[in-house]
Amino acid sequence: MADKFDDATQKELANFVEAEQAQARLHSSIHMLTSMCWDKCVTGTPSTRFSRSEEGCLANCVDRFLDTSLFMVKKIEEQRAQHGQLS
């Protein structure tokens, strides 16, 4: 094997790998969301363009899904505040 990288280079590479892993998680979320929003919004046979309702559904799908996650977290925190720690 060739010589090892020096410390500065090793640190730079570690940062790069970490950034790439964050990127990979981002891609993985986008693939999951595309698949889910496709199943929810694209109900007809594919045509040369999306219908108006398909396009509106796709445009809003990600934001409403993320709103749903926030809403659920808020509800759980409200319940915890009422009933004490559920653990």
Binding site: C61, D67, M72
Partner: protein, 81 residues
């Protein structure tokens, strides 16, 4: 040394509990978004939020029913064999 051991155990335990809670939230969001937000529009409507709040409670209830059934079944099978 014993303090360090306890710290390791505590950290593994809380990581596990977090992963489990995270998985439960992910599944709940997925199932309830599928059921309650059938046509995503420019914001969550009042009826969608009502549906989501009930769906959250029902999914947790289903999770508890399933957990109890599963644990009681595997305990029974372990006794028999």
């Amino acid at each position: 040394m014993a303090a360090r051991k306890d710290a390791v155990i505590k950290s593994i335990r809380s990581e596990m509990a977090l992963a489990n809670a995270q998985e439960l939230m992910n599944k709940t969001n997925e199932k309830c978004f599928a059921k309650c937000v059938t046509k995503p529009s420019t914001s969550l409507s009042g009826s969608e939020e009502t549906c989501l709040a009930r769906c959250l409670d029902r999914y947790m209830e289903a999770f508890n029913i399933v957990s109890r059934s599963y644990i009681s079944r595997i305990s029974k099978e372990r006794l028999e064999h």
